[in-house]
Subunit: 213 residues, 3 copies
């Protein structure tokens, strides 16, 4: 069990983060394309969406080096993704609906929240703070993406459960640690639960309460 | 005198910051409600308004842990505040005027500026930088709040003296240190002066000069 | 050569950064004036434009103290600049065109990119990350400036090569280090090349490819 945990810390979290990074980068790319940004703007917004949340978490936790500094090949992946988008998507009429952007986002939400919570627990944060750090990891990439393209962050304004699911689902990682499940199981269960609930929220159109003024 | 200073460093600054945090959280809550954000959006904007300035100051000063990490009960206070707002304010027609938001803001402005300047002085910052750090502590919670809800920060654009009062009033903490007043007196006087002048500015409608282009 | 490098590290980078700071502060000042911000708003936006990129780079690299903390006279320069703008520019009808703002920006772009890349290399960042850090140094002051005044950052949206030139030109510093040119030559050549190409891009109206959706 210890060796699985060790392997997970060394490899698993990178694999998990990779899937999330691709999902968030894509969401940034689509958002930038909808706003008619140029190639650099696309790459920047994609990078901010992909790395912004984790970088903010690492600044808050005072962790270095950042994921994208240690794994700089990811920067090339983002650049390649943007070039691919330019070349292959140029003349196709993609229906870039809100809905299409929500699917990769749901996957990223689960993976980043669970992974980020685990990272914060490993940095000896108290449980509530760790869950908040996990939520920041998952949500603030998108928040920064929306701020940069001059929108009110969707996570705060679209009345769908998004950060709310992260804030609840992150506790599974905490409980997993309390019950000695091992990191792989705890993070995997938490991520899966968040993705599942998020997809339910999308499919069934769940809504958050709003303050009626 | 030394023991009072010691007590203040250990308790007083936390008490001061608490009053300011409540004031700023409320301003964020009202702003989020005016923008029809959902429950999570309200909690996020309230948290950014309350903790954003101090967190930015601590990042700039490389201080850890943050206030809201060390005193995580405050996160619960913000969550409770938002739930209270949802439950009790749901159907009342509150006149959420700009003016109503300025009163808790004035209190927070004084408390955060004076406290933040003291924190920066304790971190051996030079006087001018300490006053700027105090001003950042007080003003950038609101700046981040306004940026997130897609407004030009009121602190920069409403032509009222706000950050200007902080930038002048913070020097009282510096002078207090030079004159060996003790932290409690220096911070208290600075905070009181800033709140008082800010209220005067509100009541008498003082305006800052604008560049006529 | 070693003593020139040493001198450069101690003095040259400060001189280079000074020219860039003035240029970026001016761009922030003009932007704030166009948005009718007040005196404090002008000073804040000018400061964010001038120090924002370098401060963000230093936060990412975990470097302290910041340039504007160590050289606090620069804060006075910004304040003086704003007062001068208020006094001397009050009644003149300046054509604050986009074009006029691009000239000081071009100088700052070259100087900050090259200097920032060198700083990151000195902090043992890998080449690609160092070039990105240099680009962040140069571009994110303007990005923060535009976000604060509620615009989509020009660097991402105006379809002109700006960050793109920085991302290419920063490699000259990296190559200079590989070829043992000495920092002064490498940074100087890189900065000059970036300024020159940026001016060409402005004069000849070069455009970046945009994703046609």
């Amino acid at each position: 069990m210890a060796s699985i945990s060790l392997w997970f810390v060394q490899n698993g979290s990178a694999i998990f983060e990779s899937i999330g990074i691709l999902a968030f980068a894509l969401s940034g790319l689509l958002e930038a394309a909808r706003k008619k940004l140029d190639l650099i703007g696309m790459a920047m917004v994609a990078s901010l969406a992909a790395f912004g949340g984790g970088t903010l978490r690492d600044i808050l936790l005072d962790r270095r080096p950042f994921f994208w500094v240690q794994n700089e090949q990811w920067v090339w992946v983002i650049i390649g993704l943007c070039l691919l988008a330019l070349v292959f998507l140029r003349n196709r009429h993609l229906a870039l609906t809100e809905r299409a952007m929500q699917w990769p986002d749901a996957v990223g939400l689960g993976i980043f929240t669970a992974g980020g919570t685990q990272v914060a627990l490993n940095a000896n944060m108290p449980p509530l703070v760790a869950v908040i750090m996990g939520t920041i990891t998952a949500v603030f990439g998108g928040v920064i993406r929306d701020i940069v393209v001059n929108e009110i962050p969707k996570a705060f304004s679209d009345h769908q459960p998004y950060a709310a699911i992260a804030l609840v689902g992150g506790w599974i990682v905490v409980f997993g640690q309390w019950l000695h499940w091992g990191e792989f199981l705890a993070v995997g269960l938490s991520a899966s639960a968040i993705v599942l609930v998020r997809i339910c929220a999308m499919v069934f159109g769940w809504r958050l309460p709003v303050w009626k003024v």
